[in-house]
């Protein structure tokens, strides 16, 4: 089969835009200039915005067929737009931070673009070969981004740890994929429904599916494969941590949706039981361990682990509904959007506070912040409160839809565990707020003023938190329509039909 390049560009241009911008921004180093960081930052932000707009436009066009390794459907475009927006916010928030570093590295923005390109590749394919390549493009860029503060030994340690453990995770995944290929003879997930069940291969197939799932568990930081996350988040530069906590989650969960959907009709797999166990452990451990942390980034690392647990709960309901996915998929997509918005909000503010050349680290560093930076403190508080799931913010509604869906398919214990766990989370999300407002000011660090564009962005994000919390209908409609129409028309699965 010959590849029609023009057709490829027509359908995949939002993703390719990121790639081209990454290459072009590398070439800017040919011209030695004081403004290199600014040029690459503007280039990256423009490319991300253009790409997000492109994905959104493509989303309206529906599904495009005709490529073997590429899937352009509403799901890939929804996730692609989200990834591009994450990149956009990160590149704006990171610009003053990068300038403030002892060693300003303009390549930061190229690597950001490369990583985002890898992420979009992961969600734009059902072929495991292309998926692994996208995953590795993302991972390699992130390893380097984590180690970017070369003069800081903690950054180097984090990069090395992430590299080693990430490679182990990829090894798991590749092992699983090779078993999958051996037992089915294909690398394409979308062909699973055509395959006849082969009892001779059943064990091999099951093992392959399990190893693939474990590889994913590693990448999203699900318990018990979460040990790398706190150390890596702690050592990475602040904007990179925010990018990892959101972008990687969106890309990995996006790809996991495709894997789960492909495997769900195969009843010989105890897929739901596996995911329920992972989700259970992840929600409980993530939230409980977060209570004991003293470092801001570690708290946020465990928070992101806990949110991975909630999202896995959504995945478990997705298996439970079988082929009728509209009702189960839209809460997951909405949750990914809200979680990314809130987490990026927190990290954007923390990045601003770290832009004085000194990395914000201990929870104590926030003491009395409200006296010095009242607006930033208020903004940070909004994001934290919403992450905890307090109404009327977006965080509450996102959790509400997710848990109510789990109850509808009959996963009562899991939903109750999730609700209790998120009640616990209120404690550690309120901790920083208490520090900002009720502790006296000791530290004398200086953070520079905030750029106008960043101010505007933060204002929009705060508005988004309340908009999504109070008027979610139009956004929910978008996430609902991300599912093919035929799935929408089918009736809901009977609640307890496919429980383990």
């Amino acid at each position: 089969m010959r590849l029609d390049v023009l057709q490829l560009w027509q359908h995949a241009w939002p993703s390719l835009t990121l790639l081209i911008a990454a290459m072009v921004s590398l070439l800017t180093s040919v011209f030695p200039s004081r403004h290199r960081a600014r040029i690459t930052a503007v280039l990256a932000a423009t490319a991300f915005l253009l790409s997000a707009q492109g994905f959104f436009h493509q989303w309206g066009l529906g599904e495009a067929k005709g490529f073997e390794f590429l899937v352009v459907d509403p799901l890939s475009n929804y996730l692609g737009a989200l990834i591009a927006l994450i990149g956009f916010i990160t590149s704006i928030a990171a610009y003053p931070y990068i300038l403030s570093q002892a060693e300003a590295i303009p390549e930061f923005f190229s690597l950001l673009l490369f990583a985002a390109f890898g992420m979009t590749t992961m969600v734009m394919t059902t072929n495991l070969l292309a998926f692994v390549l996208g995953l590795e493009i993302m991972s390699l860029s992130l390893y380097v981004l984590v180690g970017l503060r070369r003069y800081d030994p903690r950054s180097g340690e984090a990069a090395f740890k992430y590299f080693l453990l990430g490679s182990v995770a990829t090894a798991f995944l590749l092992f699983g994929i090779s078993f999958f290929y051996g037992s089915t003879g294909t690398l394409d997930l979308s062909r699973i429904p055509e395959l006849l069940p082969n009892p001779e291969m059943a064990t091999l197939f099951k093992l392959g599916a399990l190893l693939i799932l474990l590889g994913f568990a590693f990448k999203v930081g699900a318990v018990p494969f979460h040990f790398w996350a706190p150390d890596v988040y702690d050592g990475a530069p602040m904007p990179v941590t925010g990018f990892m906590a959101t972008g990687v989650k969106v890309a990995a969960f996006g790809a996991l949706i495709r894997v789960v959907e492909a495997f769900a009709p195969r009843h010989e797999l105890p897929l739901q039981r596996w995911i329920v166990m992972l989700s259970f452990a992840t929600m409980i451990v993530g939230n409980l361990v977060a209570l004991r942390q003293r470092h801001l980034k570690r708290i946020l690392a465990y928070s992101s682990i806990a949110h991975a647990g909630y999202l896995l709960l959504g995945m478990a309901t997705l298996v439970g509904t079988g082929e009728i996915r509209a009702a189960a998929l839209s809460p997951i997509l909405f949750y990914l959007l809200v979680y990314s918005l809130l987490t990026l909000g927190v990290f954007s503010v923390l990045t601003i506070l770290s832009s004085g050349g000194q990395e914000l680290n201990d929870l104590k560093d926030l003491d009395g912040l409200s006296e010095k930076r009242p607006v930033l403190s208020a903004v940070l508080s909004v994001f934290f409160i919403s992450l905890a799931g307090v109404p009327p913010t977006a965080g509450f509604l996102a959790k509400y839809y997710l848990f109510s869906q789990a109850i509808q398919v009959g996963l009562y214990p899991l939903a109750i565990a999730g609700i209790l766990a998120s009640a616990v989370s209120l404690y550690y999300y309120l901790g920083p707020i208490v520090r900002m407002y009720f502790h006296s000011h000791e530290k004398t660090w200086q953070a520079p003023g905030v750029m106008a564009s960043l101010r505007l962005l933060l204002a929009l994000m705060v508005a988004g938190v309340f908009y999504l919390g109070l008027f979610p209908a139009s956004t929910l409609e978008i996430s609902r329509r991300t599912v093919p129409i035929r799935a929408l028309e089918a009736p809901l699965a009977s609640p307890s039909a496919k429980l383990p």
Binding site: S110, L133, A159
Partner: protein, 169 residues
């Protein structure tokens, strides 16, 4: 049992034994040499499986380029004898670990060898450079390009992390 099959089993055994050497030998140079044997045995396996070109590439890149790099790094690290002292696990723990990994190896081997994989007849020019190149640049062109991007990112990352330190402000 024909000659190819005997060769195959011989190379397979050689690969496994030398791979054990990579993780059990004490001196890093010995480990690296053991790895060379593993990689060459693997190249031989590819050739017996009619993937001649893959075998040649395996020798060129892995046994040639990458291993030379390993040896260089070991040389640059310049490890002293007392740094190579064995530490960590006791005898009992070692026996346990060996038993676990052997068990894992055998059970995986059992799983993989038990089913009869459906094997279709190979096309005439299977494994040749011609058919490989054709596949890479037609039906597999998207993964091929992605792999190229992956290598570019790796190169950029290596340069960024290893380049000369700039003056700190």
């Amino acid at each position: 049992m024909n000659g190819f099959l005997i060769l195959f089993y011989f190379l397979a055994a050689l690969a496994v034994i030398s791979a054990t050497g990579v993780i059990s030998l004490r001196h890093p140079v010995h480990c690296a040499l053991s790895l060379v044997v593993t990689l060459i045995a693997l190249a031989g396996l590819y050739v017996t499986l009619q993937a001649d070109f893959l075998g040649i590439v395996q020798v060129l890149t892995y046994a040639g380029a990458i291993l030379v790099l390993f040896i260089f790094i070991i040389m640059l690290l310049n490890l002293q004898d007392d740094e190579l002292k064995e530490r960590g696990y006791g005898a009992a723990a070692k026996a346990l670990l060996a038993a676990v990994s052997l068990g894992l190896f055998l059970s995986l081997g059992y799983l993989v060898t038990r089913p009869h994989f459906p094997i279709s007849a190979l096309p005439e020019d299977f494994g040749s450079i011609h058919s490989l190149g054709k596949a890479l640049f037609t039906s597999y062109v998207i993964p091929f390009e992605l792999a190229g991007i992956l290598l570019t990112v790796a190169l950029i990352g290596a340069v960024l992390l290893a380049k000369r330190r700039l003056e700190l402000k």
